[in-house]
């Protein structure tokens, strides 16, 4: 599988590691050339410095013909817009945006891209964790 990832932060870089381990081809895009250092010098993936909103940068990353595009920069809006570009202009069938805001994640889930909302997941997990806490029975 050929995967383009926009954003080389904690999520993007660890996704890249995992995908490379599984034998996939990965290209990473980040505006900050220092962002790639987290992966070490010998990491077998292509790095492209630039804005993922820029169509030429996406083309250089090989978006035409990519099997999947994952947008995990630190901006919800950037992630949605570049995932929409990948899906609509470059016809990437599986274009996924990480969106922290649950409202926008829901609204854009039906627009030809998939959205992943960590906030919603965190809320469920935190609620479960809180509910599973034992009640203080010693009185207080």
């Amino acid at each position: 599988m050929y995967v383009v990832i926009a954003g080389c932060g904690r999520v993007g870089s660890s996704m890249a590691k995992q995908l490379v381990d599984e034998g996939h081809d990965v290209v990473l895009i980040d505006e900050d050339s220092g962002a790639f250092e987290i992966l070490g010098d010998d990491f077998p993936a292509q790095f492209i410095v630039g804005a993922a909103l820029d169509w030429d940068i996406l083309r250089r990353a090989g978006i035409e013909g990519a099997d999947a595009f994952a947008a995990v920069t630190d901006g919800d809006n950037t992630n949605i817009v570049c995932a929409l570009i990948a899906a609509r202009e470059f016809e990437v069938r599986c274009s996924i945006a990480r969106v922290y805001d649950p409202l926008r994640a829901e609204l854009f889930a039906d627009t030809g891209i998939r959205t992943v909302c960590p906030t919603r997941e965190a809320r469920l997990m935190m609620l479960d964790a809180v509910r599973s806490c034992p009640m203080n029975t010693t009185g207080g």
Binding site: L53, W55, D76, L84, L103, R104
Partner: protein, 236 residues
């Protein structure tokens, strides 16, 4: 008309002033606290503090009853998202958005934003209009209405040179509206004669640029003429 303006910078504020003057109802959404405080005395209740790309903020601004949304923040991705939310979530009939970086124009077009305004592109058009070296200058594009205003030079070898406008055979979908000669505009009356070196203002349907260039600048390749004035020439 009720207008929601997202972004209270110079463009947003002056748009708000003009619309108020024209008697329209409006609200400005601004997310920078210091800017909000600065605008508050002037705009008073016509100002809302918040991130205008948040759906709940836009709801509070009254987006559901907006006739027009103006997305003029300094970030193109935000302006695209505001336009998309306006249409998808609130069914706003018309959206005007600011393009900060001309390289993002294609994205706005792809998303189907009704009207876009790009200061850099307009500035470039005006500069090209002032500089005599450009033979073809796209001045204005009304995408939704499917019409463009362009300026083109009449070369010595053009079949249109030294002919009255009424006798010129123009390409389909092209209308000559004025002739610019020695810094003056002459309205394109049928009897007006076009001289070599004149600049001509034309309205045209998009897609007819090459035909227009062929008829006024027959010795040049249309692709080359268009490339000289393309925004990519300065942003690459």
């Amino acid at each position: 008309m009720f207008v929601v303006i997202v972004g209270g910078g110079k463009v947003g504020l002056n748009t708000a002033r003009s619309l108020t003057h024209m008697g329209h109802e409006l609200i400005v959404v601004e997310q920078r606290r210091s800017r909000y405080e600065l605008l508050k005395p002037e705009l008073e209740e016509k100002l809302l503090f918040g991130d205008g790309t948040e759906i709940w903020v836009l709801e509070k601004a009254g987006m559901a009853r907006a006739d027009l949304v103006v997305a003029v923040t300094g970030d193109d991705e935000d302006n695209v998202i505001i336009s998309e939310i306006a249409k998808l979530k609130f069914g706003v009939p018309k959206v005007v958005a600011r393009v900060n970086n001309p390289r993002n124009q294609a994205t706005f077009d792809l998303m189907g934003v009704d009207s876009t305004v790009c200061a850099a592109t307009m500035m470039l058009s005006m500069i090209q209009h002032e500089l005599p070296v450009h033979q073809f200058v796209p001045l204005l594009s009304l995408r939704r209405e499917n019409v463009e205003l362009v300026e083109i030079e009449v070369s010595h070898d053009s079949p249109a040179a030294n002919m009255a406008i009424k006798d010129i055979r123009l390409p389909e979908g092209v209308l000559v509206i004025a002739v610019l000669r020695q810094g003056k505009a002459l309205l394109a009356r049928g009897s007006e004669v076009m001289l070599p070196g004149d600049q001509v203002l034309c309205l045209l349907e998009p897609g007819n640029e090459k035909a227009l260039i062929r008829s006024f600048l027959p010795s040049r390749k249309p692709e080359d003429v268009q490339a000289e004035t393309s925004i990519d020439a300065i942003t690459e």
